[in-house]
């Protein structure tokens, strides 16, 4: 128990040092622009199919569940608003972050982990290139930038499939759905909730890179890094969401 606690505190300390190093290289020149764009494509563009599918699923499920409940209370007219508010405030951001954490977190952990165990990171360093700048900072910045954009895509897909699913059961014009749905939407339902996904992206990038660059133990270590990157990033995202939701409520009340 004591050893586990000490191990956890050591891990936390190393994470703090890592974050400090990553932040310094991310904000100071020279910037790795080409690699950053490549990572934004890898993390953002290539996550689109998964995010679109997840968003579509959220919207469908929300519509199916919410419609029955509202009918029970004779409040079916609130369906568009409930779907859209739910998607914008929480479902869209959290599901996008968890889905991307799985794909990107594992991918970064595995990629950097395999580079670590095959000395590729050392080879980059010996080539007089800062591996933190080239590999870590670019991935963290790319995750931070792309998560809000992916969330917007997921939100759009969820809102549209929410309408389509409702439309299958009863006639509802898109203009009615959107008009009534967005009546209740305010600034703090959209902007802060989407912006908080930048924090999620930061956490996913940091954890994935940290676990990857600490990999030891050959191919088994790479697997452990990929798995732990997903698990820890997902946990951090959920915990951060609790804090950020409260913060948004307090700041934008």
């Amino acid at each position: 128990m004591k050893a586990s606690l000490i191990g956890f505190l050591e891990w936390l300390g190393e994470l703090g040092v890592f974050c400090s190093q990553a932040f310094r290289t991310a904000v100071s020149p020279p910037y790795e622009g080409r690699e950053l764009l490549r990572q934004m494509d890898e993390i953002g563009t290539k996550s689109l199919p998964l995010v679109i599918l997840s968003g579509a699923a959220i919207g469908t499920v929300l519509s199916l569940h919410t419609r029955d409940t509202l009918t029970l209370f004779g409040a079916k007219s609130a369906l568009p608003g409930l779907i859209i508010l739910s998607v914008l405030r929480e479902s869209g951001p959290i599901i996008t972050a968890l889905v991307v954490s799985g794909r990107v977190g594992a991918g970064i952990g595995a990629e950097l982990g395999s580079m670590k165990v095959t000395d590729q990171i050392d080879a980059i360093a010996v080539s007089a290139v800062d591996p933190y700048r080239l590999l870590v900072a670019t991935r963290i910045v790319a995750c931070t930038v792309m998560l809000p954009l992916l969330t917007i895509v997921a939100d759009f897909c969820a809102i549209m499939t929410g309408w389509l699913t409702t439309r299958l059961v009863e006639p509802m014009a898109l203009s009615y759905y959107i008009g009534h749905g967005f009546e209740l939407v305010q600034f703090n339902d959209l902007i802060p909730t989407t912006a908080k996904t930048a924090v999620f992206g930061l956490l996913i990038g940091v954890v994935g890179c940290f676990q990857g660059t600490r990999t030891a133990g050959g191919t088994a270590g790479v697997g452990r890094s990929a798995t732990s990157a997903v698990v820890i990033a997902s946990l951090f995202v959920i915990l951060a969401d609790v804090v950020l939701v409260k913060l948004i409520i307090v700041m934008f009340r």
């Binding site: 395999s114 580079m115 095959t118 000395d119 590729q120 050392d122 080879a123 980059i124 360093a125 010996v126 080539s127 007089a128 290139v129 800062d130």
Partner: protein, 262 residues
């Protein structure tokens, strides 16, 4: 002083290109290097021998700044590399060419892109010239036809050749080779040794070769240093070390040198 086609052995008065003084390194409670003093002269090939796990590769990593010694100093070209800012360390690293034990090729890049990586990062050469230079380097190691292949598509010996070509990309003053023949069959190992002899030692280029392969020592070494339990037990010219009466040295070197003294 000249020895049998291996080039001139520099005198003690020449400034060494690498000076290692009092270097110590431990991992936890395990002392790996316990007070290493070593000089490598200009144009000289120093071979560091020792049993597996005696700190040979750790010493190489200390020299290129991948790890920091617990004590001591390391000078390359007269410049201290321990505890210096990364920018200064990277300027020194541009003068080094490092061949990793398993080549450490970037597996997301083609063979050509691997070799061109240092050129892309540290020169202003346009893309066409970079590719031409990479093609020349690959031609020198006999892999001009494999430019477009990925590292996963080539053999271990070919990876070593690509690694060697990449290490030579910036025409370094000092080559560092970590177990260049590890994991290779005898024929391929002999080819790599020959290649290193031709390319790695050209002109005034100095080299440190870490190995426990005695064929590499015989073919490449101007001077030999033998590591045992974290210390250098003997260091000197090829002839001096081969004539040592020390039982450990004799037992280590006998398979190669024993028959020469018959």
């Amino acid at each position: 002083m000249t020895r049998d086609g291996r080039g001139t052995v520099p005198s003690q008065a020449d400034d060494p290109v690498i000076r290692i003084s009092g270097v110590r390194k431990s991992f936890g409670r395990q002392m790996v290097l316990d007070g290493i003093d070593l000089d490598v002269g200009r144009g000289e090939t120093m071979t560091i021998l020792g049993r597996s796990g005696t700190g040979k590769s750790v010493l190489l990593k200390l020299i290129v700044g991948l790890q920091k010694p617990d004590a001591g100093s390391i000078h390359i070209g007269g410049q201290e590399i321990v505890d210096v800012p990364l920018e200064r360390l990277n300027e020194i690293r541009k003068k080094l060419g490092f061949l990793f034990q398993h080549a450490a090729l970037y597996d997301s890049l083609t063979v050509e892109e691997n070799v061109a990586f240092p050129l892309a990062r540290h020169t202003d050469l346009p893309d066409a010239e970079r590719r031409q230079r990479a093609a020349e380097l690959l031609s020198r190691v006999g892999l001009e036809g494999d430019r477009a292949k990925m590292p996963s598509d080539i053999s271990g010996g070919m990876k070593k050749r690509v690694g060697l070509a990449r290490a030579l990309a910036l025409d370094p003053e000092i080559m560092l080779l970590d177990e260049p023949t590890a994991g290779l069959d005898p024929i391929t190992a002999a080819e790599i040794i020959e290649l290193i002899g031709e390319l790695g030692k050209a002109g005034e280029r100095s080299a440190i070769v870490v190995t426990h392969d005695l064929r590499s020592v015989e073919a490449l070494a101007d001077r030999v240093a033998l590591l045992k339990e974290g210390s250098i037990v003997i260091e000197g010219s090829f002839e001096e070390v081969s004539q040592s009466d020390d039982p450990f040295v004799a037992a280590f070197l006998r398979p190669t040198f024993g028959h020469q003294h018959v």
